[in-house]
Symmetry: C2
Subunit: 391 residues, 2 copies
């Protein structure tokens, strides 16, 4: 018989999370998220960029306690779907503080959003403009332009945005169709670690503002998307550093005509470091008598909420209930509990975990508050999605 | 104003699915699955391998109508979790026809399965054997060995199985621990298109049988896993061809001592071609004035159930409601509806779709009955999982 293992490591740092976890001993897998930390992150970003309106990217974590806290703080909301709009409204968001930020919307979803009072819409194509003109007449619209995504951990494809030349045509078209061409948006890639990456996109945006002004179209909004990182393994620049870099770019490219409205859409940067995912070790195994590398199998994997381990893109800091200075550690491969061969979290990333690790021990994934809960498969292999605790 | 588009293509071939879809006009995205086709596939595989016991891999599609039909036909069930065991029992499966086939099991889940009468368990490590000895004493156990997975479309990692040398030690250990060493299992990779790939694993298995016989351990079961393909874009060998190849390997390597029990665990091969996923085109867009490639955005993507498009592994045959001989077609990139840049289904695969395609048209994903529904994210970006219709 072994003594019941501690559910968290002796070195676990967030005191609020620590005392909740130790007292509640929540069943794993689960997310535990400190809502006060979200408030802290909101206020830090607000202080670093006082001129910006924060539109929280609901998709990163749509839990009601998070949305209610942010609504109370005065946050606006960036929504990807009508369901997300409803969540924002239920949490106390008001229609004028909500944007329908997905460039891919069904006609009837635009109509549903319009009926709820939403008057801010993203687009990046002509077909979408026609849908907006029909179902959200007179609304403010902004065009997303393409950027490179270099320097971001989570890959950015060409899925969203159009080339600035096309954006120019489309913003003119928006005006013709009776919509209000409001501004330009872009996204520099999620978990973007280089504050300078905003500069090139701000320059393109400024150029579009000037070209359109010559046609009598006065844009007044720049939406700089999300991308603000959270701390995983390595330090990232502070909110202040992002604020300074972005403010510098705005001044450099817009001179004394900085757009009246500046929007940022943080998701990960707001909730990432507020939450931890707790998991239980189900099995530790080797594959042969000659290969010492241990496979550590957990009760949560790629399909249970840790989808961002895809191609090992996001490397969560891990802590185990056996973390002590005394024990030796060695290389492991970490995998999930399903019968799917692709449900492997880390094989190339060199994680070293205690040699004493065994079934029944616990592993904490730090900075797991963003892009975990809603990603979880509804019942893959019969496993239910992770539980959620907001404290 | 356009006429309401047909929900399916004029060339749609399965008559039962066709008439249901045309009459019910189900809301998209959804799966529609023909349960009679599952019966057809079961009977075809049974006829091709009359000596084999079919353990349906529930994880591929755990819908009750599918399980009930298979239970009625006499199928056994391969389960990945206690929830799946409960589904099999509720559908009419009896405990002796159920195996707990996941090599990664929590101690308490083994106990829960044992309490339900389950006496067949997979393992591939010593730690798992100890758990089984404690919580499922006296049960029949089989050891999974590693294979290469070459020739399979869905990647096979080293996550499951151990080297045969280790399997030898573990099967001896199982006996020492009071378990019944029953046999050997392997998996040649999902959507395995080469019937000869079973041969090497059968050879390894036969060698293990012989070596253990010298120690007084008589194995009597070989579990050849799944891997049986369904037809996506290209023809695959028939069930008969797989049957002949596997039977040939058994005779070649076991001589006249073919194991008393032969198990196969089809999932995809049983339900894949029985179902279609219907989706609606949400948007068609280009990215610049000079690049003619169209992006086609659907109301289902990688996180909505089409996870197997990961790295473009599974290439579903697509049919659109605008498929006519008259229209021209050209190259498209196909993506899902979420705000996630990685939610792109096909960028490298050269899909050509009608130039007339527009928002509101429909696209059918054929052979989408396996590994779609349960994979769907519970609410990513606020989107609800696809609906399911079993007819």
């Amino acid at each position: 018989m072994h003594a019941a293992p501690a559910i968290i490591s002796p070195t676990f740092s967030n005191e609020k999370l620590r005392s909740f976890i130790q007292q509640a001993q929540p069943a794993t897998p689960c997310l535990v998220l400190d809502v006060d930390r979200v408030e802290h992150n909101y206020l830090a970003l607000k202080a670093a960029m006082p001129e910006a309106s924060i539109f929280y990217a609901i998709k990163s974590n749509p839990a009601a306690p998070v949305l209610r806290r942010l609504a109370k703080l005065g946050s606006s909301f960036d929504c990807a779907s009508v369901n997300e709009i409803d969540m924002a409204l239920e949490a106390g968001g008001t229609p004028e503080r909500i944007s329908f930020g997905n460039t891919i919307k069904k006609q009837r979803d635009i109509a549903a959003a319009y009926a709820r009072g939403i008057r801010i819409y993203a687009f990046d194509s002509e077909m979408e403009l026609h849908k907006l003109a029909e179902s959200a007449p007179g609304s403010r619209v902004f065009c997303r332009i393409l950027t490179s995504g270099e320097g971001a951990d989570w890959p950015l494809s060409r899925k969203f945005g159009c080339e600035p030349d096309m954006a120019y045509d489309l913003l003119l078209k928006a005006h013709e169709l009776g919509l209000k061409p409001w501004g330009v948006s872009f996204h520099v890639g999620s978990q973007q670690k280089n504050p300078k990456m905003w500069d090139e996109a701000v320059r393109s945006s400024a150029r579009l503002f000037k070209k359109l002004e010559k046609k009598g179209i006065e844009l007044s909004m720049i939406n700089m998307g999300g991308g603000f990182p959270t701390i995983y393994q390595k330090p990232v620049p502070t909110a202040d550093e992002y604020g300074r870099a972005i403010h510098g770019s705005l001044t450099k490219h817009f001179g004394n005509a900085i757009p009246k409205t500046i929007i940022i859409e943080p998701g990960r940067g707001m909730v990432g470091d507020a939450g931890v995912v707790l998991s239980e070790v189900v099995l530790v195994a080797t594959k042969s008598k000659t290969d010492p590398v241990r496979w550590v199998y957990l009760d949560i994997g790629k399909y249970g909420g840790l989808q961002e381990t895809m191609d090992e893109a996001i490397k969560y800091p891990l802590e185990t209930s056996k973390d002590t200075e005394a024990g030796t550690r060695s290389r492991v491969i970490i995998a999930g509990p399903t019968c799917d061969s692709t449900d492997v979290l880390y094989e190339k990333a060199e994680y070293n975990l205690p040699d004493a690790l065994e079934a029944g021990d616990f592993i904490t994934f730090h900075s797991a508050g963003a892009y975990t809960t809603t990603y979880a498969a509804q019942s893959f292999n019969g496993f239910t999605p992770l539980a959620e605790h907001y404290i």
